[in-house]
């Protein structure tokens, strides 16, 4: 991130450097290299083009999208796709469902993962190592392994097609525990000792000393879990059985086949509704996203 530590340019001719590598010698030095910018910019265009294409497409009529050769800019921009999305297909409901599920999932993770994270990081107790090993072990288990018994369980509890059914299995995540534990471990023990000597209970220490210091970790956890929930697909697909319980990705996937499959503009607008809110938040908070990835390695 910092460019302050650049090494000053060495004299051009050095007896120690053989002829061959002279041209490439600047790779570690401060000289800007235009061809790197060119290559990276071409790559960047390839990375963002699908997003631009999606946004432009959402304002085109169906006939225009199907034209060949393709128009890049909409000739006659229209908002009819968005009107159809919210009037005919009830995307407001799916949007609300996605928000409700993501908010509760995120709150659950903040509360429960920091509690167990504190215990795992700073308290001594029997079974601590086993518990942590168990949590880490589940990180590798793919979602498809659990969804069949999870569905049978949810069905037996009568929670299929309900908010609790969508939310409960995600109130905690192993990644969240890992992240909170790692962060709390880094907080100084002296703070906790001092509070204990002052006679504070563990709960008070947790609420008044630990949690106020966990701001950055909670920000990262909030972003990761909200995002994970917003983009989650397999479980909502299994458990949401009627339209009024669909989340955005489920609605989008199920409407993208069948009679709407040929409605390109409509589907592009749907993708915009799912993707753009997240992109806006990401651009504003990108530092924390990157932090979260480096901390956990999990998107």
């Amino acid at each position: 991130m910092s460019t302050l530590t650049q090494v000053p340019e060495a004299p051009e001719a050095s007896a120690f450097v053989p002829q061959k590598s002279r041209g490439r010698r600047s790779s570690l030095r401060g000289r800007p290299r235009w061809w790197l910018y060119v290559v990276l910019t071409l790559g960047l265009v390839a990375m963002v083009m699908p997003f631009i294409w999606m946004i432009l497409g959402s304002f085109k009529t169906n006939a225009e999208i199907r034209q060949y050769p393709t128009n890049f800019w909409p000739i006659d921009p229209t908002t009819e796709n968005y009107e159809a999305l919210f009037v005919r297909l009830d995307f407001a409901t799916f949007f609300l469902n996605s928000i409700v599920v993501a908010v509760f999932v995120t709150l659950g993770n903040i509360v429960f993962c920091s509690m167990v994270g504190y215990a795992l990081a700073k308290l001594q107790f029997r079974g601590k190592k086993a518990l942590f090993a168990l949590v880490l072990g589940t990180l590798m288990v793919p979602g498809v392994v659990t969804f069949v018994p999870l569905f049978v369980l949810t069905a037996n509890l009568g929670l299929v097609n309900s908010y609790p059914g969508l939310i409960l299995p995600f109130l905690i995540t192993p990644v969240g525990v890992f992240l909170m534990r790692q962060f709390i471990m880094g907080l100084p023990d002296e703070l906790i000792e001092a509070a204990r000597i002052d006679g504070a209970s563990e709960w008070r220490i947790f609420l008044r000393v630990i949690m106020p210091l966990c701001g950055p970790a909670i920000a990262t956890l909030t972003i990761l879990t909200f995002l994970g929930s917003w983009n989650n697909f397999l479980w909502p697909l299994v458990v949401a059985t009627t339209e009024n319980m669909y989340t955005l990705p489920v609605a989008l996937a199920l409407y993208s086949v069948g009679q709407n499959a040929a409605q390109y503009g409509l589907m592009m607008a749907g993708a915009v509704v799912v993707v753009v809110p997240v992109l806006v938040v990401f651009v504003c908070l990108q530092r924390y996203f990157v932090q979260g990835i480096s901390l956990t390695g999990i998107k």
């Binding site: 990375m47 392994v145 659990t146 018994p149 525990v177 983009n231 390695g297 998107k299």
Partner: protein
Amino acid sequence: MTALATSVPPRARASRRDRRMTLTAWLFATPFVILFAVFMAGPIVASFAMSFTDLTTRDLETPFNVDIVGFDNYIRLFQDPRFTRSLINTFTFTLVGVPLTMALALLVALALDKGIHRFRTVYRVGYYAPVVTSIVAIAIVWRFILQPDGLLNGFLAWFGIQGPNWLESTTWALPSLIMMAVWRNIGTLMVIFLAGLQSVPREHHEAAMVDGANVFQRFRAITIPALRPTILFAAVITGIGFLQFFEEPYVMTQGGPLDATLSTAMYTYDQFGFGNYAYASAASYVLFIVIVALALIQFRLLGRKD
């Protein structure tokens, strides 16, 4: 520990305090442990047990009719050409997609780390943006890009290339999904590699340069060995992700054409949809075993110290 003279012997006091500490700690862990047991650990074990039975939708109301069938489900799986096909597709997807993503991400990370001073945030945000988006939404957009008369073929036409009907062709459907997955995952690995590159000591490069090593020699002799733990980590987490691919074929090809993009996760989901719960569980456990095996192989291959 304590200098106070009390009637209680020190050891007894300590153990009582330990017990109280254990109790408090478990109280902190209780909500998590309950949710974890019911919604994670429980289902993982149940799925394993289920895979040795003949549980189907019909048995949900009369669970006592379920029989234990041993390895029957697993034997049936490997006799089903669609399942083996799904495994081959999953392996191809992973073995091509992961190295490709890692190579491109490493190139971008190296360029950003060494040669670029301005607009770094812009590049980082741009390359990372696909990571945060919903695969479902992105797959729909890519479906239109890959249409016979879509954006990609329009672009290829500039160079006089007649592009294929990407998603309808048995040859090109899986490469199309790989292309999209690579596009989506470069950002994650770029960030991980950037973090790793920061730990490569600058002095080593300086010394090697003085000795006359060129860019590629330095890359091989210094950067790669220093990055080995990072590369291992990246390979394992990307591998785990790629082996589970589901949304891409679900949205873009429904596993077709002719099962050319059917993934194991999608096969599992299909069997679940048909009500074959036990059989679906067995399929998911095969995938799980594959994931664990792959992770172990990667640790063996890349984790060894020379």
